[in-house]
């Protein structure tokens, strides 16, 4: 700043008197006057100070004015420094001065007229000042540009950082316009939905994701536009058709006309909650079933005993005895129902060898009349005797359920196909027993499929308890086995196939073997149930 106001004027003359007179003439220019007695001293001072104009006497001993000017012009720093030669009017001098075409060069003749000297110097001083100011302005401008560039760089870095952050998020983040056309699709969205961004950008989002809104697409969209925000769960589909439940947050940017959307996959969370509710429901039902069984079985036993006593009473005539017998038969039915539906009752405490083939044959014999009535043909093939260690009553119940379901599914005839065979299980290194029961009946609707093994689910309206398959599944699971079903169309006919896999033809049973009595084991081992 200082240098712009106080400029330096270097005066070079070998005569001190002249220097003094110049000093007096230029005193009121508000400039710093530097005196040099020779060209050499002048050059030295030039190097130390930023000089606006050099007042240079042409005729000096040693280095004359022209020689000094030549030296200055060779130095890049002084090429543009203004020089005012002071010279006697000699033609040769004037010609030479004119030779300094470039740069600010002027001359003043001797004798020096003070006003002329002052005027010429002040022109140069002013020129220097302006040049300095311009330079300063330039420098300032440059720093400002630099600063702005840096700021831009910083904000660009910030934006890039944010963009990277969006890509890091596991949530699906997307931007769409009011028509639903996608303009942004992050890596989270690619991972969640299986669609690459190149495939979806420019396409309508709801078409891609098959979004199902809880309250209909238009009303949630209007909430979003009116309030600027919408939160809720949506059902969407991935590229491979998998159904997803996502927690969605959407914000409407009015000025840009765009909708920002973040979707988090909560499918497994929701499924887990459902499964938990289901388990709790089952547990509660198990408890209720136990209580009901107890409350029904107690009076049932008393009534059954009463009828037994009545039937055997000697005073009874044939007709009354017949009535008592009828009552007993019906009571047995009630007992059978509570056994079947209210818990898994076992007749024996210890597992025995159960030939599954015989069990199935028993069931088929029992259902023989029904097979005949429904004109169902039987196609049965056993590749093994199928002996399993377990409890005959419950295993029989499983196959009774499957076979009677199959028969009921074919009211207008069909084929009941039963297959039993060993099946090598790679995972366990054992041979499993595989039994399939297949009917050519009405088939199972896809929407019913996932409820099939749930309690109180029935397709037989009032005729079924809805517990058969649920109980069967519970029994099979106790044997570490699986029960599954498949619905297929073969030769244009519906076929429903249930497959039961019981692990190991001679399996180690889980939870089935009750600890044997430690007391009285030899004395009173129950001889029945085997």
């Amino acid at each position: 700043m200082n240098e712009t106001r106080q400029v330096n004027i270097l005066m070079v003359d070998d005569q001190p008197a002249k220097l003094l007179s110049y000093e007096a003439i230029l005193a009121n220019l508000d400039a710093n006057l530097i005196k040099a007695r020779s060209g050499r001293e002048g050059l030295e001072l030039l190097l130390k100070h930023d000089v606006a104009v050099v007042l240079l006497d042409v005729s000096m001993p040693e280095i004359n004015g022209f020689e000094m000017a030549d030296m200055m012009r060779q130095h890049p720093r002084f090429q543009k420094t203004a020089i005012l030669f002071i010279s006697a009017v000699r033609m040769s001098d004037l010609d030479r001065i004119k030779g300094y075409q470039s740069g600010a060069v002027d001359y003043i003749s001797v004798p020096v007229v003070p006003d002329v000297l002052r005027a010429k110097v002040s022109v140069f001083v002013e020129l220097h000042r302006k040049t300095r100011e311009l330079e300063n302005l330039n420098r300032e401008l440059e720093t400002r540009v630099e600063q702005r560039t840096r700021q831009l760089q910083e904000s660009e870095n910030l934006l890039r950082e944010r963009a990277d952050l969006l890509e890091l998020a596991s949530e699906a983040i997307l931007v769409r316009d009011l028509a639903g056309v996608l303009t942004y699709w992050n890596a989270g969205a690619e991972a969640l939905y299986g669609w690459d961004r190149n495939e979806v950008l420019g396409k309508p989002v709801h078409e891609i994701l098959g979004t199902e809104f809880p309250v209909g697409s238009t009303s949630s969209e209007s909430t979003l536009i009116n309030r600027g925000r919408w939160d809720g769960n949506l059902v969407q589909r991935t590229r491979d058709g998998r159904e997803l439940i996502v927690a969605s947050r959407q914000v409407f940017k009015r000025e840009a006309g765009s909708i920002l959307e973040i979707n988090r996959d909560i499918t497994s969370q929701i499924r887990a909650e459902e499964a938990l509710r289901q388990t709790e429901r089952l547990a509660a039902m198990g408890r209720v079933a136990g209580i009901i069984a107890h409350e029904i079985n107690n009076p049932l036993e008393a009534i059954t005993n009463a009828f037994y006593l009545l039937r055997n009473h000697p005073s009874l005539d044939e007709e009354a005895r017949y009535y008592a017998q009828l009552g007993e038969v019906e009571l047995a039915r009630v007992g059978h129902i509570t056994k079947q539906t209210l818990g898994f009752y076992r007749e024996s405490q210890h597992p025995v060898n159960v030939p599954i083939g015989e069990i199935i044959d028993d069931v088929l014999q029992l259902q023989g009349r029904q097979l005949l009535l429904n004109r169902i043909s039987l196609d049965k093939r056993y590749l093994t005797y199928g002996e399993i260690r377990g409890f005959p009553v419950e295993l029989r119940q499983v196959f009774l359920n499957l076979i009677s379901n199959a028969i009921q599914a074919m009211p207008n005839g069909g084929t009941l196909r039963i297959r039993m065979g060993p099946r090598w299980n790679e995972g366990s290194g054992r041979t499993d027993l595989c039994i399939s029961v297949c009917d050519t009946g009405l088939g199972i609707r896809p929407e019913h499929a996932k409820h099939l093994f749930e309690p109180f689910f029935t397709t037989k309206s009032l005729k079924g308890t809805g517990l058969g398959l649920w109980i069967s599944k519970g029994i099979i699971q106790k044997y570490d086995g699986t029960i599954s079903f498949r619905s297929l169309i073969y030769n244009g006919r519906h076929m429903t196939l249930f497959r039961v896999i019981l692990p190991g033809i001679n399996p180690v049973l889980k939870d089935l073997e009750y600890s044997r009595p430690t007391i009285g084991e030899e004395t009173a081992r129950a001889p029945f149930g085997h």
Partner: protein, 125 residues
Amino acid sequence: MDTDKTLILCVDDEELPLALRKLVLELQGYEVITACSVPDAMLALVDQNVDLVLTDQVMPGGTGTELAHAIKKRWPDMPVILISGINEIPPDTMYADLFISKVEGPAAMCAKVSAILSAARFSLG
């Protein structure tokens, strides 16, 4: 008391079912005494020469399996049969010789009582 007859102790907290069960067993030719709780049953066992105990499982103030445990501690050879309306076999059923369900009906109950008795007699010589 006729000493030739087999004496069965029948235990249940419900009066009417107990009476009917007693009648059914008597029809089979057994002599039957009854008790309506675990302490009553233990007292009866001390007093009389019982051949077999047939007890209900769920009773207030002590279950059938607890009774079976107490009996086997004092009289290891005494046959004990649990009869219950609950469909699940209780976990400590091992103290009893047999667990039967009430829904099996009188004929099955009598057959099992008889089988347990003959097994007990056989082992005792």
